[in-house]
């Protein structure tokens, strides 16, 4: 506002009075105060003049011919709209009832006869101050409204940009339920889900400290990292390490991101979970039994990489088990009495739900009933991941667009990892990345990854570490297996796993040849039941029946060399449109 509230500048004042004497006195008084005066002889003239001269203040006689002051006041207030135009009634009325009528009609004050110069001046100044204050407030309100509209528009644009980076991944998969406000990004909440190339999926739920732009800005790199790494086959722990390092680097010291990473391995019926700073996660068994998955780590973006713990907890599951993770908005929901929903609210909702009700719905419903205002749920993010049969999940695909660039067709490479590296590095993302340079192989990424992963885990676990696969068939053995695996990984001196990959063109597409050799002692592949006869799951051997079966289904051929420690796989692909999956259709 440019106008000074203290010293009123010249105002425009409309005076309406049918008495020439009174109007003359008032007009002179007002002019002497330095204001501009317009005069009307009745209510109708006053209304017409009001539109024409846009006065700052109106002085209005109550009783006038043609149109009286009350009616003129009503019409003037309507014409003024949002503008505040103080309306002062000129009156010698003294009855309370009559005075009240003037106020009802929109009058703001009275000026009684005989007119007093000092009181008139004080009233004009007082109402001018009020008018200016109203103007200031209105223009500030308009400014805020305008800024807010601008902010909302900007947020929508930012959200679209973010969605292009983050897309929805596989959040719409049938085994995932989630709740997030459309503008969750600006509450600092993020939710990502993507399938691994070789089955299983990775889900991340995060909650940045703070709100608005600062909170949203960290979400962008996380989305890039998440979707980029998962599509290349990196696992949850790798992604977490990368998240932490990135956030540590970009966020100021007081900012961080609480997060939960859920990695499902449908094939092995297990979940890997990492919780850093989120409220307890809840594993809801098909039996209804509840298991708490507490936060065991600092949030992301606090610790330097060398102190960061990416260790995920392994939970053995069954199909139908569901894991729920949520942000602290749930715990902080308050009811009308100001009580918190809290962990106990979640537990009550899960324990008291009807057998058929999805735990996700139970919690949403409970918090909905509990919280005092509906707006509360804007700040809540929750997701539930259900363990399913692996077969059912094969329909889930990520939305990665193929690159239109031509890639290498004729090439060969060897990659060998040795010694301690065997224990703490997975070569799979790198190898998959090399294969994905061939455009024709890109839409086969899941199959290639599976082939590489099967070869690698067999070479490592059975070749190098010589772990018997039949241990994994019982619950006790399962633990024993992984315990032993950890122990033996620390003693891999002199061992190696070598991949040789070559690719060449064929008339109808291309052929990828993968040879995986390990330093282990091999096995008697000549007498392996699956290798010599029909495709039927076999007894324990160096290769678990399922793994080998999978290789043979996916590949054109599987051949063992040397003493069984070298496997050669041929994978053919055809230019899109000829035949979709020759390998499996031939063999079935």
């Amino acid at each position: 506002m440019e106008e000074s509230v203290a010293e009123p500048k010249s105002l425009t004042i409309l005076i309406a009075d049918d008495s020439d004497t009174d109007r003359l006195i008032l007009a002179v008084l007002v002019r002497r105060l330095g204001h501009r005066v317009f005069e009307a002889k009745n209510g109708q003239e006053a209304v017409q003049l009001f539109q024409h001269c846009e006065p700052d203040i109106v002085l209005l006689d109550a009783l006038m011919p043609v149109m009286d002051g009350m009616e003129a006041a009503r019409q003037i207030k309507i014409l003024a709209g949002e503008r505040m135009v103080p309306l002062i009634f000129l009156t010698s009325l003294s009855e309370a009832e009559e005075l009240a009528k003037c106020l009802d009609a929109g009058g703001d004050d009275f000026l009684t006869k005989p007119y007093n110069r000092v009181i008139l001046e004080a009233k004009i100044n007082a109402f001018n101050r009020m008018r200016l204050m109203h103007q200031a407030l209105s223009s500030q309100r308009d400014l805020i409204r305008e800024r807010n509209e601008q902010l909302v528009t900007e947020q929508e644009i930012a959200k679209r940009v973010f969605d292009n980076v983050a897309h929805t991944g596989c959040l719409d998969a049938f085994n995932i339920r989630h709740h997030a406000s459309p503008l969750a990004l600006f509450n600092g909440d993020v939710l990502f889900a993507a399938p691994f190339p070789a089955g299983g999926m990775l889900v991340f739920i995060g909650d940045f400290t703070g709100h608005g732009l600062p909170a949203a800005i960290g979400a962008m790199p996380l989305a890039e990292i998440f979707y980029g790494m998962v599509s290349k086959g990196f696992k949850g722990a790798d992604v977490l390490r990368e998240f932490n390092q990135k956030l540590k680097k970009i966020l100021p010291p007081g900012m961080f991101c609480c997060g939960g990473m859920i990695e499902t391995e449908f094939k092995h019926n297990q979940l890997q979970v990492w919780n850093g700073g989120l409220p307890d996660g809840w594993l809801v068994r098909t039996s209804g039994e509840l298991e708490v998955v507490p936060s065991r780590h600092l949030p992301l973006g606090i610790l330097p990489s060398d102190q960061f713990d990416d260790g995920m907890d392994t939970l053995a599951t069954e199909p139908g088990d569901r894991l729920l993770m949520l942000t602290d908005g749930f715990l902080e929901s308050r009811n009308a009495e100001g009580q918190l929903f809290g962990d106990s609210g979640i537990r009550r909702a899960l324990e008291s739900r009807a057998g058929t009700q999805h735990p996700f719905d139970a919690v949403m419903e409970a918090v909905g009933h509990f919280s005092a205002s509906a707006a509360d749920t804007d700040d809540l993010t929750m997701c539930s991941v259900e363990m399913v049969d692996e077969v059912g999940i094969s329909t889930i695909h990520d939305r990665i667009e193929p690159s239109p660039l031509p890639g290498p067709m004729e090439w060969h490479c060897e990659y060998e990892i040795r010694e301690r590296t065997l224990g703490d590095f997975s070569p799979l993302p790198l190898l998959l990345h090399i294969c994905m340079e061939v455009p024709g192989l890109r839409r086969k990424s899941g199959e290639i990854y599976t082939l590489l992963a099967e070869l690698y885990s067999n070479a490592l676990e059975h070749g190098v570490l010589e772990l018997p696969s039949h241990w994994k068939q019982s619950a006790d053995g399962f633990d024993q297996y992984y315990e032993e695996r950890r122990r033996r990984l620390s003693r891999v001196e002199g061992h190696f796993i070598r991949f040789s990959l070559s690719h060449s063109m064929t008339p109808s597409g291309g052929r990828l040849r993968i040879v995986c050799e390990d330093s282990g002692s091999g096995f008697d592949f000549h007498n392996h039941p699956i290798l010599e006869s029909e495709l039927r799951p076999g007894r324990a051997g160096r290769y678990a029946g399922r793994g080998l079966l999978l290789l043979k289904r996916l590949a054109e051929s599987v051949t063992f060399h040397q003493q069984g420690n070298q496997v050669e796989i041929i994978f053919d692909w055809e230019v899109a449109g000829t035949s979709s999956n020759p390998a499996s259709s031939h063999r079935q």
Binding site: T21, I25, L29, S92
Partner: protein, 115 residues
Amino acid sequence: MTEQPHLDGEALAELQDVMEDEFDVLMRTFLYDSRERIASLKQAVSEQDAEALAHAAHSFKGSCINIGAPLLGELCRTAENAGKEQRLEKVPAIIDAIEKEFRNVADLLEKLMVR
């Protein structure tokens, strides 16, 4: 009737001060206005229109108060009340009193202007 003076000297002095050159105009306006008002009062009585009477008396009263003619204002108030109460039978006498008082006021004001 109360002991109101014909003119409120203090109020008039203030008006003179405020109006400066326009004081004479104001006086003439008041005198002209008042004759019109008195005519309106008489017409209302002849038409037995109590509401019009109250209305005209009310406006006249306001001007009288503003100009500093309290006795005339008081007479107008009596007429206004009579109109509001629909007791028109007393009004001709009141109007006579108003006319008489107006002549007093007018004489005094004419003198003020000449001065």
